[in-house]
């Protein structure tokens, strides 16, 4: 009984966290990563730093929006199926509400340039925060020769050869399984 109550509370908490985060996700699901890291890892301690990186990495390489994937994995990890389900519902609510409202007031919105400036400002903040989280992940990585080569290879494939990221993921996974070493 006590366990049920505890899991109900964690499901509700997850719902409110993802709802709150979804409102401030501008410029794609990536914007929620720094925010979630601070809330789930540093503040609430729902996930360890390592688990968070795992969730994020796996979510990033699967089909579908990053946000849905992160909500599902995090939700499942913390509170099982209902955690996953309600986290997903929570991130759908703000977009549905806001876009529906915009559709209703369709023409008025076009002139609303102040809104656009607000969003570019938020986007600049997102760019800064995602850069921060990238640097943080970079520092946490225990680099060996294999990983340095893999990183350089991924950069080259993505930025120079403009390879579709999904192939870079597949190549990285295969190389890792055949040549890589395990973390501790």
């Amino acid at each position: 009984m006590a366990e049920n109550k505890a899991s109900l509370i964690s499901v509700l908490k997850l719902f409110s966290i993802f709802f709150y985060v979804a409102i401030f996700t501008v410029g794609g699901g990536i914007a929620m990563v720094p925010v979630l890291e601070r809330i789930l890892v540093e503040k609430k301690k729902y996930l360890s730093e390592k688990e968070f990186t795992e969730v994020f990495s796996v979510a990033q390489i699967l089909p579908g929006s990053l946000m849905i994937n992160m909500a599902t994995f995090t939700g499942y990890q913390i509170a099982g199926f209902w955690g996953a389900f309600l986290s997903c519902v929570a991130i759908m609510l703000p977009p549905i509400t806001i876009i529906t409202l915009i559709s209703v007031f369709y023409t008025q919105f076009i002139q609303f340039t102040l809104m656009k400036k607000l969003m570019i400002g938020i986007l600049a903040g997102v760019v800064g925060e995602v850069s921060g989280i990238t640097l943080k992940m970079f520092k946490k990585t225990k680099f060996d020769t294999f990983k340095i080569i893999l990183l350089l290879l991924s950069f080259a494939l993505i930025f120079i050869f403009k390879v579709n990221p999904i192939y870079v993921v597949v190549i990285g996974a295969l190389l890792g399984i055949s040549l890589g070493r395990m973390e501790e």
């Binding site: 400002g121 800064g128 996974a173």
Partner: protein, 173 residues
């Protein structure tokens, strides 16, 4: 019938959406503008510009938008649920498996390589956001400032930082 068609169409689009919203523009354009004629090319561009600058994942915003256009609120709901449905099931399945094989050697090797690739993917995301959304140099300076504040003040809620950046954007851009 239309609702069912909307649902199935967005199920399909949801599953091929890989690498975030930007990647699905061409696919979505091909489906809803060229093949199904659900929205005009001009309206599509307008919808993309709104979807990019409103909260929520871009692909999901577009699904809601197009769904609403076709069948009102119910259409918006059906399209959004359709877009989310299959990725949710796949991710749920992977999560169930991943939690159980965490100690597996191959999974550990896989994960440790993928985390390196993800670093490159993150840089790509930053690059695409800046390239697509920043009109001149000012947002770059704001992004740099946000980066420094984010790294320096570990206790600061990142959402407050985003709100402050938004307000600065409203005043200065």
């Amino acid at each position: 019938m239309l609702l069912l068609k909307i649902f199935l169409e967005f199920c399909k689009i949801g599953i091929i959406a890989f690498g975030g919203g930007n990647a699905i523009f061409p696919i979505l354009h091909h489906e809803v503008v060229e093949t199904l004629h659900w929205v005009s090319a001009q309206d599509f561009l307008y919808m993309v510009s709104i979807a990019e600058t409103t909260p929520g994942p871009i692909g999901m915003n577009l699904a809601t938008f197009i769904g609403y256009r076709l069948a009102g609120f119910l259409g918006a709901l059906i399209a959004t649920v359709g877009y989310t449905f299959l990725p949710f099931l796949i991710m749920l399945f992977v999560a169930i498996v991943a939690v159980r094989i965490r100690e597996n050697k191959i999974y550990k090797k896989f994960l440790s390589a993928i985390m390196v690739v993800v670093l490159a993917l993150l840089m790509r995301a930053v690059y695409l956001m800046a390239k697509g959304g920043f009109s001149d140099l000012r947002p770059y300076f704001l992004a740099l400032a946000a980066f420094i504040v984010f790294m320096k003040f570990k206790k600061l809620n990142p959402i407050y930082l985003l709100i402050i950046c938004g307000l600065i954007g409203m005043i200065c851009f």
